[in-house]
Homo-oligomer: 206 residues x 2
DNA sequence: CTCTTTTCATAGTGATCACTACAGAATGAG
DNA sequence: CTCATTCTGTAGTGATCACTATGAAAAGAG
């Protein structure tokens, strides 16, 4: 413990030679396409251009890198899907826009198909149960955001007071998860949008 | 090529010492819980009580055992879910019963949660893309069965002729897939049933 | 009995897994 | 400058992966 005047982000030592955002984007794509267990460290090396020590110095472990990629995904694709939930008014149209956003994002030809979180780490090996819990927690957070939106719609008088907001939230969550599965299986944007339109029929009348 | 009088199931050689059904049941449970990649051969050995040579002699490979387990699942749990699709009349109530069956089966406390096929092998490693395709094909078959049921309902006049049966089938497929995800995340039977009830609101009126 | 066939048990195979020891290189602190 | 610190590249670590070589055991055929 020598003198360490400031707690500032002391730029001591050799500086990093890689762009963290770029690395996260490449690694995210690998995890997105192959899942946590299916993504090998050697493939992550190839994709990021980083040698193992750099990865471990920056992210601690494969799981650390994975969780950083989950955050990166949430901030990017995830926010583009759920953005209507932050709108001024909570109503049927906002919910519909969320589903349409998902249809668009999950079928983007420039990225892996489906959602990186909705259908990730559903069944992992015995040694990686904590990874499953981490992804589960993120799904729960999204489900909570949807339900909060529905409660808000109810309070604003745009959703029937009799509606079961928890069940409705689970329903729309299921649609998003199902769209993720089917996008991965090859469904295109138009098919996902048509499904989303059908799903909106579950929004209670009135 | 010596004399081989009959092509009958010649019971020549040392007989098997294990019960194939029992082995399939145990292996299925392991794959169901941990997925294809997450299930290690050593765990499958422990669960089935079989040594590697017995497994490979009987099923050829890990993938061969996996696909045998998928068939075993389809014949058991799967058929208990989709059984109403074979009913004499195709209508709203039949579709509802499928969802309710799924809610019950996916939350059975005596088995792994969720569906072994609906949400399996969605993102696998580079070396196992054929496993992903095999599971995808089974999901496509189920989706086709649902759509055929809806077409039948339409022909029988119990579903509006204007209804988009393909989109409706995708919708109910998504509900089943979403129930599988959420069951795995801890949703109980009552929650899944409530979600299914909401989803039935997407069945076109008339 | 012998011969062939099939299954079973032991004990491994090379390959790949996630991860790290080590030393050199690049910076700031003093 | 020297020292401490942080990062990078090389070259591995033991562990586990799916899988198999080998030979004995257990059955039918002749």
């Amino acid at each position: 413990m020598t003198t360490m005047e400031k707690g500032k982000p002391g730029r001591r030592g050799r500086p990093r030679e890689f762009d963290q955002e770029r690395v996260l984007d490449r690694a995210m794509t690998v995890f997105w396409r192959h899942g946590y267990e299916g993504a090998s460290l050697s493939e992550l090396q190839r994709a990021t251009g980083l040698a193992p020590p750099s990865i471990y110095n920056a992210f601690g472990s494969k799981q650390g890198l994975y969780e950083a990629c989950l955050d990166h995904y949430t901030e990017g694709v995830g926010s583009r899907v759920t953005e209507p939930l932050d709108g001024a008014r909570a109503d049927r149209e906002g919910m519909r826009r969320v589903l349409m956003n998902a249809a668009r994002e999950f079928s983007d030809p420039d990225r892996p198909r489906g959602c990186m979180i909705s259908t990730a780490a559903l069944s992992v090996g015995e040694r990686h149960t904590d990874v499953g819990r981490a992804v589960c927690a993120r799904r729960a957070r999204t489900l909570g955001a949807v339900e909060a939106y529905l409660v808000r719609a109810q309070q604003e008088g745009r959703l029937s007071a009799q509606a079961d907001t928890a069940a409705l939230a689970r329903h729309f969550g299921a649609i998003i998860q199902g769209m993720s599965v089917q996008a991965g299986d090859g469904a295109d944007r138009a098919e996902l949008e048509a499904m989303a339109d059908v799903a909106m029929g579950a929004w209670p009348p009135g």
